[in-house]
């Protein structure tokens, strides 16, 4: 399994029936394809849809039914659509059980930076700031390092998405939780040792006596 699939599959295990969940672009989108059998969740697309389904079969795309990247999707039975004020009311108002986003950096206190690299990339924050501020649980799906540098850092040097600490970061090496204002090593990926995770992480990790292996 490659890094992205490990991350997506582990995050999919956090999904429970009945949850309202928003998946971001990139690795988070893959989470839907690893939904455990028997689990039924409502996926929200912030452009105004609850109950988004997979990509339509060829020739079955509907121009007015798209995901937040503007690509054609489908709607599952029981889906609902609404305007952007309602969509972000759901997000900010605490009605969204979980959001899964990509990340550029997460610091030791769990603060996420994921929307711009000054001087290089200024796409805009889109819905990310509202999602991180308002969702009940915030999960970050990202590779552990980029260009040999840890993305789990002591302090973010990139502009923050929110002051609110995320709940979990899942990488291809580890699951890190941020429950008590510190970064705690919660799980290691199969075949990865605690020492390897520490060696690849800039942030100081709290390491409990026993660190379980990620179940996939």
């Amino acid at each position: 399994m490659n890094a992205q699939d490990i991350i997506a599959k582990r995050i999919a295990r956090e999904l429970k029936s009945g949850m309202l969940v928003n998946l971001g672009i990139g690795i988070p989108t893959l989470v839907a394809s690893y939904l455990p059998e028997g689990v039924q969740v409502f996926f929200q697309s912030e452009n105004g849809l609850i109950g988004s389904g997979p990509i339509p079969q060829e020739g079955m795309a509907q121009a007015r039914l798209t995901d937040a990247g503007g690509r054609p999707i489908t709607a599952l039975p029981g889906a609902s659509t609404f305007d952007s004020a309602m969509s972000f009311g759901l997000i900010r108002g605490g009605h969204l059980d979980m959001t899964v986003l990509g990340g550029l950096q997460v610091d030791q206190q769990g603060r996420l930076a994921n929307w711009m690299i000054p001087g290089k990339m200024v796409p805009g924050m889109g819905g990310a700031m509202d999602l991180v501020t308002g969702a009940k649980r915030v999960l970050v799906a990202m590779q552990h390092s980029a260009k040999g540098k840890s993305k789990v850092v002591r302090e973010c040097c990139l502009p923050l998405t929110s002051m609110r600490a995320v709940d979990l970061v899942v990488t291809e090496l580890a699951v890190i939780s941020f429950a008590e204002g510190c970064a705690r090593l919660a799980e290691t990926a199969p075949g990865v040792t605690v020492e390897q995770v520490i060696a690849n992480t800039e942030a100081t990790l709290v390491v409990p006596g026993h660190v379980p292996q990620m179940a996939l």
Binding site: A75, S84, G124, M129
Partner: protein, 215 residues
């Protein structure tokens, strides 16, 4: 409400106007109105919308034609031309969190001076804004937005201008319909009064100033 030709509807928009335009990555954007803005060469526009779509689609066409002076949007990541014009200084871009943007517009349309939101507290978004604490929690004061014109894409309009929207093409459309001095609507289908049940009207007819007649 007047039913007018596309050319007439766009002719009432002066250079330098502020436009709220419906759509999310071009889905729910009145494409014919955008094309006519380009054809008539309306310049120095301020565009308030979710995003600038991508080159060749929706608001992206206005950007490519260099008709936009300022964009108040949440996302420009899928339109490299907006980013290039921002870097060169040709377009001023104000990036606003999406939920904040739609609430600022909603406030503008509902007679409110603004909204209090926790989104952006402690980030670059709070720069230059007032903060207020309520019950121990910090909020930013985000001021209301209004525009000279709202350009809507509806699914159905009846002869009076009652509107419905389709699926994810709804997005900002019913919100901007409240927040502009003049509202121009294009509908995919124009239907007799009564076809849209009262319960299903999303934008009531009195909000619509111009409905574009089908050629």
């Amino acid at each position: 409400m007047q039913t007018v030709s596309l050319g007439h509807a766009v002719s009432v928009i002066p250079d330098g106007a502020s436009l709220m335009i419906g759509g999310f990555m071009g889905v729910g954007t009145p494409e014919c109105v955008v094309d006519e803005l380009v054809r008539q060469g309306k310049r120095e526009l301020t565009v308030i919308a979710n995003d600038t779509a991508k080159p060749g689609v929706g608001i992206g066409k206005l950007v490519s034609a260099k008709l936009v002076r300022k964009a108040i949007v949440s996302h420009i990541g899928l339109n490299p031309e907006t980013q290039q014009q921002m870097i060169s200084g040709a377009i001023e871009v104000e990036l606003v969190p999406q939920g904040t943007l739609v609430e600022r517009i909603r406030a503008g349309g509902c007679g409110l001076g603004g909204v209090l939101t926790p989104t952006g507290v402690g980030t670059v978004v709070e720069e230059g804004k007032r903060k207020i604490a309520i019950d121990g929690k910090e909020y930013l004061i985000e001021t209301a937005l209004r525009a000279d014109f709202a350009l809507l894409q509806a699914f159905l309009s009846d002869y009076l201008g009652n509107l419905t929207y389709a699926l994810t093409a709804c997005n900002f459309n019913p919100v901007i319909a409240m927040a502009a001095n003049s509202v121009i609507a294009d509908a995919e289908h124009i239907v007799p009064v009564g076809v849209i049940a009262p319960d299903h009207v999303a934008t009531p007819a009195p909000l619509v100033d111009y409905l574009i007649a089908h050629a």
